[in-house]
Symmetry: C2
Subunit: 786 residues, 2 copies
């Protein structure tokens, strides 16, 4: 059972709590309670073993290819969390004996995971156990653990086996060579492993300190070195009522670490340096190290915390949960790495970066921490060569971004997926070939970043080049259709992945058009305002020739128009002519894609059934291109046909519902979006949290309920806060201004926390205001948005 | 708890039985109750999952190298045994609820594993469950399973998930590419995987049939294809008292299968052929298929069963257990494959072949099934090139056999082992470089085979070449020692692996000497009696030159002589001068090498402590070289210093104790040897059964208690049956004679089951007898052996 209201006082709406134990349903809390810091992500599996646990430690960017048949994936690194605890010859396991009390909680405010248990063993010995754990936000390489064991019934002989276990796999796939194992001074374990193909060295250090109550112990462990594994076995005799306290400190470093391997890389150097550092950290101990991390969390929350005064206080926790994960999933320390679709919390999608990153997650950083947003966009610059290769391989030019991206920018989408229930074969996955909108999505996101930050330096160094390269791809990709007298984009998959190999997916066509048009505009801006950049890129990319091509193509791209009868924009050339089916059975199945248990993908392809927002996604991204009528008509047409079988769907529907002023429906979708990870479906997050959905929750609040958007470079605010909410207070960074925006039902107040000589123009409704230090606008007096 | 006396009537002394369940101690029965047929070995893990289980399916000969740092190993193939059984929404697991009755048994006579359980779920529903399983001796590719589930309390909703799981690893090492997965007709699963380096294709087929009581069911399963995995999920509603019966039939084939891939190999052919065959097998069903296998077991036992009438009937079961495993470990179907040190029952020693095969196991086949013995020796012929490469690489000539051998004959000994408790580093394993006696052991075994079978065809094709090549290695390997005026063999490890890098290990020197001397003798025999072979080998090996070298060296090899004072043969140049320590603490620790928890290998190297029989091994192999006095003196000197930390030690001590006529001690060692796998140490067999020890048990009976040996080509019998035994009856094949030998305290009776015109000369004690059809010798009248 999950509870979200156990936080009290300073921790109110900060605690995710599990109040009972179910050995069959461990995946969910392993993911949603995961710890991390963007450098690493650690699934919150229990210390003791269960058959259905999935231990996971993922280090950002450390991709490896198992063989030539499988794409690169983020390897599951050695486990340090496992402890075998034997209490009077009985292995501690909550599947046995009696659980008198159980509570596990993740404190979103401090980043600490804690578990409190009172357990009676099958032989009737009672124990109090407490487990604490954190991944440091202060030292990105650090994992801390602390365990308390108190025998309550009588003296107990306690054996703890603790080690570093490199037998971990990604569902059976081993990414590491055996490695080197070493124990120093019967205390510090060192384990060095190298990934098999990418040849990234990993160095683990781990050590233990022991106390009985406050008395320090120096036990002599039994040491075991076996295959891919080191273990230390400790024995204690603990009297009734006394507490055995173990601290286990671990660090992980890799040869990708910029801060350690900046000059010529040498494994021996890294090993020496990290061992020396480890000894110091191990000496400091859990409490001190945890406090240093908690301070960093405090600083983070001070900057980004959103306050929601809602009659349902779960709304407040929802956004904090999202913001917690948005931080721990993001490798802000290194722009060579992207964000995985499951963050660093699970094997799902192999750690690959999708459009989720730009369309769902990037905006959070663009508007709260633009430095991080810039790094995430730089990742797409670092992988530009992969995108160029893909374009050339497919007969185009410019950059054709991979649908799934890892370290190099090569296409990493796996070829085979789940069963085809008709043929019994694995289904071919076409996204890597056909889901091409990723390229305009990236252009869109970088443009939004540029507009929101005015970061010209970024455009000069990276942004303009990406924008021009993506536009160039589309200009070659479009195909002339003599019948339509237009440039068409045939044989694609749009955002709705239940429609494969369609022609003229509206979303793709509009966004490709936008991509080229924006490149044309920026070409002029660049030529005029950044002549050096222009000169360099013109030389590198033959811009003048390309500019001509863009102009030839852009106005002739086929943009499906709303039907006259009902204003419905055809999702693609054939969607509207396909038969309808009753999808009630599948519609509330929590994104489990249950329809594929009854129909094959081909069959689903030929129905008016959508996996996720597609036209609705278009209505959101290019909101000023469509009238309110058209938006309403399309929302009404498509939503009932949409299963929301992708976690990318609900939050977008929420935002568009806000846009068409249907606050109740919007709130409904917001609540549903929160349920994707936090809801009662205990299987939904087994493979990791839903990164895009968490970004979507922040977006639903900021772009949906707060109604914030950029139009013509200006900030617009059109609040649509839900009936249950009294107040929404959020921090926002825009064009160098650091604001705090407070919205109630009646009024918008904005505080500018930046010292600046120029006031910022802000539109509320249709009216322009100037923000200096503070601005207060009564919503009743505002003329409605056009 | 293990029980060995539960078999009744026709199954008396045929049943290994486990009467209680302990989730912490699963490894032992997984190994000792393993099923197999020499083609494959299947660990007897339970259908349901436990954290400490080790599932294993090993197909003989299918070695693969994970990377260039690890030796070849026998990969753990996909699992077909796992079943998730959900009873009224409760996952079936014996760690929960109440076990009312539990019994698991392996029937050695029929090769069937059965488990009977009455279990009450935590929600108080009672069930009767029965699981049966066999690996066919009739169709080497076949695994059959049958499951019965009866709800006893009320109607029960039963879900069974069953599949083929390729996520298995060897302690984390994945040897297979992802592979191709397919389900035919919602029923037959097909999984094709290829090993990553050796590129061996594996094809699995699996299907289910269902009944409720006797009514056939045709359920519609949910099909799941995921990473390296296929699953079928079946749902049933079973009324109280009715029984759901599932049969699961599986086959495994590989591209190494000679009987399938004799012509040009094509995966598609193999796939078509095996699918067609599978459909037929699946139709036949468990009972019929099991009966076909049981018939083959019956035939085996008819040929090899040894009858022991002992006051302790466990002795009878001990030898049957050994013979059961000796059959299932042996790839009799293909002479390209050897026997692993753990048979096919576990990951231990990576499936590699050691001297265990020739010295401990081969004799069983030499004297009961010479065709199989020949195949095992042919394996050493197939790997001769690897041995030649090793000789050349080390600066010698001829054949220097690898200490650990896999498919090619290349040296496969891993480089690093367990922890050095002093330095905290992994210990360097030197056996691959230094444990050179394997080469004479192979020569010895093939000579014994030749003497016992007179298989001249074998010698012509394979044996002579191996013998000459091994002798040639030794003739180059010996080093002239000016001081000793002898050829020495320095820097070796003898059988006693606690003494590394010693000079003139007595065992090695004597055996090398024997090897060269036997080659010299055989050279003459070969030249005279097999001139074609001689001509061919002379050309190939430059025999005449080598013959000269052998003769130059042979009489000058340093053979450590018994000390005059106490008749003790120095194990090596320094052993006797090393300090003694009190080893009581370590001596009865069930081969767990506990001494290495207190001392490093270097420290142990410098004590008079032996891991296993070394001089005592020599006394056994070259028994006619040493007088009874010398044997006694050395047994008395070395045994107290021997920890028996290798499973190769006890049975040899038993045989030598018989030889020196100490029947009580011999029986004691026999009993201890039986405990290696069948004893109460529940960890001893986790990594697999002890193949050499099982061969040793047979040898202890036949060479020890029955006192059978070959001297000057003649069969000798000097019975030493233990005081508790009334009768020992054993089949024996010798020089084409198929005998049944019956020994009581007073008399030896021999039946000759072969039709032959010539009687066989047999020595009993010092007297010669002639066996025609039958022979009966009263032991009282026999003059004692010299």
């Amino acid at each position: 059972m999950l509870l979200y209201d156990c936080g009290n006082k300073e921790y109110k709406n900060w605690i995710i709590c599990e109040t009972s134990f179910d050995a069959q349903l461990l995946g969910k809390c392993e993911s949603i309670m995961a710890l991390g810091n963007g450098y690493m992500g650690l699934r919150s599996s229990m210390e003791e073993n269960y058959t259905k646990q999935t231990r996971g430690l993922f280090i950002a960017g450390t991709f490896n290819k198992f063989d030539c048949y499988e794409p690169s994936e983020l390897p599951n690194a050695a486990d340090v969390v496992e402890l075998e605890i034997v209490l009077n010859n009985e292995v501690f396991s909550l599947e046995k004996g009696v659980i008198y009390s159980y509570q596990r909680s993740l404190n979103l405010k401090t980043g600490e995971l804690a578990r409190h248990i009172i357990w009676e063993s099958p032989s009737k010995d009672k124990y109090k156990l407490c487990f604490k754990r954190f991944v440091s936000l202060d030292n990105l390489h650090l994992i801390g653990m602390k365990v308390y064991i108190t025998p309550l019934t009588g003296e107990s002989c306690i054996r703890v086996t603790s080690g570093i276990n490199g037998q971990m796999t990604n569902s059976g796939v081993q990414h590491f060579h055996e490695g080197e194992k070493r124990i120093y001074d019967q205390n510090i374990m060192e384990f060095i492993q190298t990934t098999c193909q990418s040849k990234i060295d990993f160095i683990f250090h781990s050590g233990h300190t022991w106390k009985i109550d406050s008395d320090k112990q120096i036990p002599t462990p039994r040491m075991i070195i076996s295959r891919r594994k080191l273990e230390m076995m400790y024995d204690f005799m603990i009297p009734k009522g006394k507490t055995l306290i173990m601290e286990k400190i671990c660090t992980v470093h890799t040869s990708l670490d910029k801060s350690y391997c900046y000059k010529e890389y040498s494994l021996q150097d890294l090993r020496d340096k990290t061992l020396t550092e480890f000894i110091e950290l191990n000496r400091k101990g859990y409490d001190l190290l945890f406090n240093e991390s908690a301070k960093k969390w405090k600083r983070y929350w001070k900057e980004v915390d959103i306050k929601i005064e809602s009659k349902d206080s779960f709304d407040q926790l929802t956004v904090r949960f999202a913001q917690y994960h948005l931080l721990i999933m993001t490798p802000a320390h290194d722009s060579r790495f992207g964000i995985g679709a499951k963050g660093l919390t699970g094997e799902g999608y192999k750690g690959h970066t999708f459009w989720d990153s730009e369309i769902f997650i990037l905006p959070y950083f663009t508007f709260t921490n633009p430095q991080i947003a810039r790094k995430l966009l730089e990742y797409r610059y670092h992988t530009l060569n992969g995108a160029r290769k893909k374009a050339i391989k497919n007969g185009f030019e410019g950059a054709m971004y991979p649908w799934e991206s890892a370290f190099t920018g090569d296409e990493e989408t796996p070829e085979w997926g789940a069963v085809n229930i008709l043929t019994g074969e694995a289904t071919r996955i076409l996204s890597g070939l056909k889901e091409q909108h990723i390229t305009c999505d990236i252009a869109y996101a970088l443009w939004q970043y540029y507009k929101a930050t005015q970061d010209i330096d970024f455009m000069k160094k990276y942004g303009s080049e990406i924008l021009f390269e993506t536009a160039s791809f589309w200009a070659k990709r479009v195909e002339w259709d003599e019948e339509k007298k237009s440039y068409c984009i045939n044989d694609v998959i749009g955002p709705d992945e239940y429609k494969e190999q369609v022609n003229n997916n509206a979303f793709t066509n509009y966004m490709a058009h936008w991509n080229i048009q924006t490149a044309i505009n920026h070409y002029r801006e660049c030529k005029e305002k950044m002549p050096q950049t222009f000169k360099r890129l013109n030389k590198k990319l033959d811009l003048e020739r390309r500019f001509k091509l863009w102009n030839e193509v852009v106005d002739k791209i086929y943009l499906p128009q709303p039907r006259k009868t009902d204003k419905v924009i055809p999702q693609d050339d054939t969607y509207l002519s396909k038969p309808l089916i009753d999808i009630t059975k599948y519609k509330n199945a929590s994104a489990m894609q249950t329809i594929l248990q009854d129909y094959s993908r081909e069959q689903v392809n030929n129905m008016q059934v959508s996996k996720q927002a597609d036209v609705v996604m278009l209505l959101y991204l290019l909101k000023d291109k469509f009238s309110k009528d058209v938006k309403e008509a399309n929302w009404q047409y498509y939503e009932p046909k949409t299963l929301h079988d992708s976690s990318l769907s609900l939050s977008v529907h929420c935002i568009v519902a806000c846009d068409i002023n249907d606050k109740n429906t919007a709130y409904d979708f917001f609540k549903k979006a929160a349920q994707i990870d936090l809801g009662p479906n205990m299987k939904s997050s087994d493979l990791g949290i839903h990164a895009a959905s968490l970004g979507g929750i922040w977006k639903a609040i900021v772009f949906g309920f707060a109604g914030i958007s950029i139009e013509d470079d200006k900030l617009h605010i059109n609040p649509k806060i839900p009936p249950l909410w009294l107040k929404l207070k959020l921090p926002l960074k825009f064009q160098g201004y650091n604001m705090e925006i407070e919205i109630t039902r009646d009024c918008v107040q904005i505080k500018n926390k930046t010292k600046t000589d120029y006031p910022l123009e802000i539109f509320i409704g249709n009216d322009k205001y100037l923000l200096k230090e503070k601005l207060r606008v009564d919503l009743q007096g505002v003329s409605p948005q056009k």
